[in-house]
Amino acid sequence: MTDENNDTGVPAPEGAADIIDTDYQIGQDNIQTRLGPFGFDIHNPVFMISGLVVIAFVAYALIAPTHASDFFGWLRPALTSTFDWFFLWAANIFVIFCLLLIVSPWGSVRLGGTDATPDYGYAGWFAMLFAAGMGIGLMFFGVLEPAYYFGTPWGDEPLGVVRPFTEDGTLIEGNIEEARRMALAATSYHWALHPWAIYAVVALSLALFSYNKGLPLSIRSAFYPILGDRVWGWTGHIIDTLAVFATLFGLATSLGLGAQQANAGLEYVYGIPNSVTVQVILIIGITAIALVSVLRGLDGGVKVLSEINMVIALALLLFVLFAAGAVGIVSGFFSTLVAYVQEVIPLSNPHGREDTGYMQGWTAFYWAWWISWSPFVGMFIARVSRGRTVREFITCVLIIPSVVCIFWMAVFGGAAIEDLITDPQGSAVKAQVIDAYNPPLSLFAMLESLPLAAITSTIGIVLVIVFFVTSSDSGSLVIDTITAGGKVDAPVTQRIFWCTFEGLVAIALLIGGGLTSLQAMVISTGLPFTLILLVLCVGIVMGLMSEKRNT
């Protein structure tokens, strides 16, 4: 390996950034080799261990499917019920932490040094934030969640709100307003400030330690202020391996389950058979498009797809908005905003609650889920956010996406609830969400009640698929960077490897069973990551303090 960095640790900061003085050289533990025609530049411990552990877990799920599903099926709910208070409080701390950063003097620190200019304009930046962070979830839960809270007969109403239906399914007029208000507020709670604060914490710490402190773009770098040079040893290997592991399994299981959902949609809309063969074809198709995207790179692939997706999603949003009655929904959006502000504190307080079905089954589950995804999304956000100030960064990663998500929920949820109350007996939403709990079909059921259902359902399926592509390609870039010791210019072969590997894991789990159990396992990693994230907050403050003092 050629090493040009012998004077590392004392590069001239030029008053721009406060670079950390460490003897570690990026890529010093990497092996660069050639295997036939393939060139490699990998951080061997992290690359090998991640790869082998992933294979081991896939083998476990395939060889002992019952054991795996029993164990993880027990583990995940056990964690989210036992540690519900911990998840809720941690998420609250992240929100408060981020909001404080906006108003603190540290908000003026610029990521990338005082003279840095943003790499991406607002449009491309937002598109990538959304596509990596939430895209698919908005498609899946936009109808499901508000409709579920509105009509749930299973006793998990948020904050024990009144039910708008009697036992035999007749509407109680007097309860509709209150139930609608709470359903939209409780959904917004899961999609607004809290998840984005989780992403913002991870992304900010990575961006700060990479762009301002000169450490490699890898999860371990964020631990430098606390662990010091130990992060370059096994402690760091374990942190990075865990991040790769959670990202890869998170993506692979979502890809498998997503293929099942897309297939369910295709069956509902076009009558295409719901079979493993179709699902495997879908996974291969999604992986193939993702491959093209990673080969075209960040600007030519990921960004372009994200922008296309945003345009289609916006078109669908506007269509639903106008088709379902713009005036009602826009006023619904403002009352949802008000309801969110009023209810966010009671909803985020874990003590003395009786609605454990909602708090543990939904909130704690969501928090664990967002947190297990945060290394991936955070690292991707960090990668594209150079040149923004901390204040601008938090505002744009926290406040604006929150408002957009609340609007999205108000439109899709509002339209779904409208459909529920207009005709409770004939409502497709009620049939799919309440009567037969069939989550993948909730979006299509809502679109059915609007005009041009055949066209919009097709757009819906396309969106679901392209959102999977944008998760898959950005995830492959992130995994590639972590397993290359923080190098972002590793040989293209490695991207192909991770992207393909992810598709293969998804196919193996789809055919052999085990998607659900391994997804439960991924969500379980949310617990240790929550601790890690709390530590990151301390690291961010330490990093920002030294940045402020020394520049």
């Binding site: 590392t8 590069p11 000169g214 790179g297 990668r383 210019d489 590793a490």
Partner: protein, 138 residues
């Protein structure tokens, strides 16, 4: 014949550039024209430099060494790319226009089967640049 030579350099693999550097220096002295050394870096910290600024400083130092060694005139031109794995060719093509070079002298890698699928950097530059391109085998 030529007025300005551009030579892309990868500071992380300096040892593999020797022949190309010698070649561009020889041509520069022959025609008595300056060489513009172009380096593309990542915005993220890399083994070569922590920041694009530090990279630019290192490239300047490199150019100073080259001009002294070969007795030619030289300039540095540092660029940053979002995703150099795929954007390198485009960055270099842009650089050809930016520096106004009419000859590009660059090192190549050893050809392999993947060049049929992804063109090599030298191959792509030769195909698309308006300037003449001299690809030197390492």
């Amino acid at each position: 014949m030529f007025t300005r030579i551009m030579t892309p350099v990868d500071l992380a693999h300096r040892d593999q550039l020797e022949r190309a550097l010698q070649c561009s220096a020889d041509l520069a002295s022959h025609y008595d024209v300056p060489v513009v050394y172009v380096g593309v870096t990542t915005e993220q910290p890399s083994p070569v430099a922590h920041t694009p600024k530090e990279y630019a400083a290192k490239l300047d130092k490199f150019v100073a060494e080259q001009t002294e060694k070969h007795g030619i005139k030289g300039e540095a031109h540092a660029m940053a790319a979002h995703d150099p794995t795929t954007d390198l060719d485009d960055a270099l093509l842009k650089a050809v226009d930016e520096v106004g070079a009419d000859l590009v002298v660059m090192a190549s890698h050893i050809p392999n089967v993947f060049d049929y699928i992804w063109p090599s950097n030298g191959g792509k530059i030769a195909e698309h640049a308006k300037a003449s391109v001299f690809v030197v085998r390492g």
